[in-house]
Amino acid sequence: MIIGLPSLSFWMLIGVPTIILIIMFVDCWRIMTGRKK
């Protein structure tokens, strides 16, 4: 049990979108610095 959330699948429901979001943030940085068209 991690900070009160009892199931691993619950964490995946938060974790998977968070990872996709982080990938998008990295691409945002690449767009703003001109490294990605």
Partner: protein
């Protein structure tokens, strides 16, 4: 001063602020582009706020706390759908939409598939779905003002409609976004007041989730206390499509200063919304389930009850009025979209321009404003009777928009092969099947109950697009050049 009087004063200050913002924004309106896409002047900060306002509002707190409190874990449902939908806009739609230089989704449909029929059909879908949504939003706003400020229903409805129509008519998208900033400030003040009091009553994340699990076993599981896994997955899918085709959000891409800003604004806005949902819906929903659930008659009362129980009367009035003020920040976007579908897409692009009728920008600015007032009057009149049917249809409106636009947007942005006929048949066929399925669901027909209308409509739209594209010729190259500039 009583708490009720204080609430009314705060609401009055809010009304004055947004009308003044509308007046100031009206000074910047010279052309149709100024009105519908704010002259494409938005920088990153304002784009992030505009995107957030397209999705979240004060009503999202009230209904979100009710939903999370009642069902539990599935309230985390929007996460995957929001992020998936925003990834589609970020990677596939934003850049091409901004570079295409249009104003609306019907502009995209008409230009990309070189079809006046598709433009008119899309304008019809946008206008009808936005007006239906608008009716539900106006009714919702009137109920909130009625219950929180003590006005009667018709007075609340009239105040809300007149104010929204007034500032949108004056200032167009610029007024919408400026007032969204004001609404955000009111809403966040309301939410932040609550933080120390809720923390004091239920503790942090670990504590509140352990407590809620003990009073409602299963609350912290992904499916919550009432949903099945298959029902949950079908909703993930529907909301994913709904968010990648959310017209309020997709249309904002046209208003960015350049395509980089349009793209980058999407994930940042979604990230902030997810943080908001964790606190504003999930944490407060759990707290409401622990603290007030056995004292309320319906889940909609959860948030007001939580506030009234934890705060002093004056602070409760401040918090609730702040959130009620921001209750309907998507209403103005809906007014703007249905107005643009009538004035820009139907009158200018489908009627005047094909007939060679030349008019100046002042004329179209006036037409745009008249169309907003027209939509406002229709929505107001339709909000007065107690139409249960409209509220039922609203719950399916995302399915109609999704089946009309998802495949034409997705395939049209990624493949040059798709034909005008394929887009037309897919969009109309998918929408009609969705409408038939919705009618079946509302009439409780046995065949319609097993699967969500949006899933059926999307499946039909996808199959039709594939089948028709195989036997028809792609749109000619010069029409699609602005969407595929690398090929020229």
């Amino acid at each position: 001063m009583s708490a009720h009087t204080l609430g009314i004063w705060i609401f009055f200050v809010y009304l004055v602020v947004i009308v003044v913002l509308g007046l100031v924004a009206s000074r910047f309106q010279e052309t149709e582009a100024d009105f519908w896409v704010a002259g494409r002047r938005f920088g990153l900060g304002i784009m992030i706020i505009a995107n957030m306002a397209a999705i979240m509002h004060g009503g999202a707190i009230l209904s979100g706390v009710a939903f999370a409190g009642k069902f539990g874990g599935v309230a985390i449902l929007p996460y995957i759908s929001f992020v998936g939908g925003s990834a589609v806009i970020f990677y596939l739609f934003a850049k091409k939409l901004r570079q295409s230089g249009g104003f609306t989704i019907p502009d995209y449909m008409g230009d990309r598939f070189d079809s006046r029929g598709l433009r008119a059909w899309s304008a019809l879908v946008v206008a009808v779905s936005s007006i239906i949504y608008l009716i539900a939003q106006l009714k919702g706003m009137a109920f909130i003002l009625e219950s929180l400020l003590g006005f009667d229903f018709i007075t609340s409805l009239a105040i809300g409609t007149v104010i929204f129509v007034a500032y949108v008519t004056m200032g167009g998208l610029l007024a919408v976004v400026w007032t969204n900033v004001a609404q955000f400030l009111f809403m966040w003040v309301g939410l932040f007041i609550l933080v120390p009091y809720v923390y004091d009553a239920v503790g942090g994340w670990t504590s509140v989730l352990q407590k809620v699990e003990s009073v409602a076993p299963g609350w912290t599981s992904p499916t919550g206390v009432a949903w099945s896994a298959s029902y949950m997955v079908s909703w993930y899918l529907i909301w994913f499509v709904a968010y990648s085709t959310r017209i309020e959000l997709v249309t904002k891409m046209y208003a960015a200063r350049d395509d980089k800003i349009a793209r980058v604004s999407v994930p940042i806005a979604i990230g902030l919304i997810l943080v908001f949902l964790l606190y504003g819906n999930f944490y407060l929903g759990a707290a409401a389930r622990v603290l007030v659930w056995d004292q309320i008659a319906s889940p909609d009362q959860a948030f007001p009850m939580l506030v009234n129980q934890l705060l002093t009367p004056a602070l409760a009035a401040l918090a609730l009025t702040g959130i009620a003020s921001a209750a309907m920040s998507t209403t103005d976007s809906l007014l703007l979209m249905s107005g643009s579908a009538i004035a820009h897409d139907l009158l200018r692009r489908c009627h005047d321009e094909p007939k060679g009728i030349q008019r100046d920008e002042r004329h179209y600015l006036t037409i745009s404003r008249i169309s907003i007032v027209f939509v406002g009057v229709i929505a107001f009149i339709c909000s007065i009777p107690d139409f249960d049917l409209i509220l039922k249809i609203v719950s399916y409106a995302i399915a109609i928009v999704g089946s009309a636009f998802f495949f034409p947007l997705l395939v049209g942005m990624t493949s040059k092969r798709v034909s005008r006929e394929a887009a037309l048949v897919s969009s109309i066929g998918g929408t009609l099947v969705t409408c038939v399925w919705i009618a079946g669901s509302i009439a409780k027909a046995p065949w319609a109950g097993s699967v969500h209308p949006g899933i059926v409509g999307l499946a039909v739209a996808g199959i039709l697009m594939l089948a028709v594209a195989m036997f028809t010729r792609p749109v000619k190259h010069d029409a699609i050049e602005k969407y595929f500039p690398e090929a020229s």
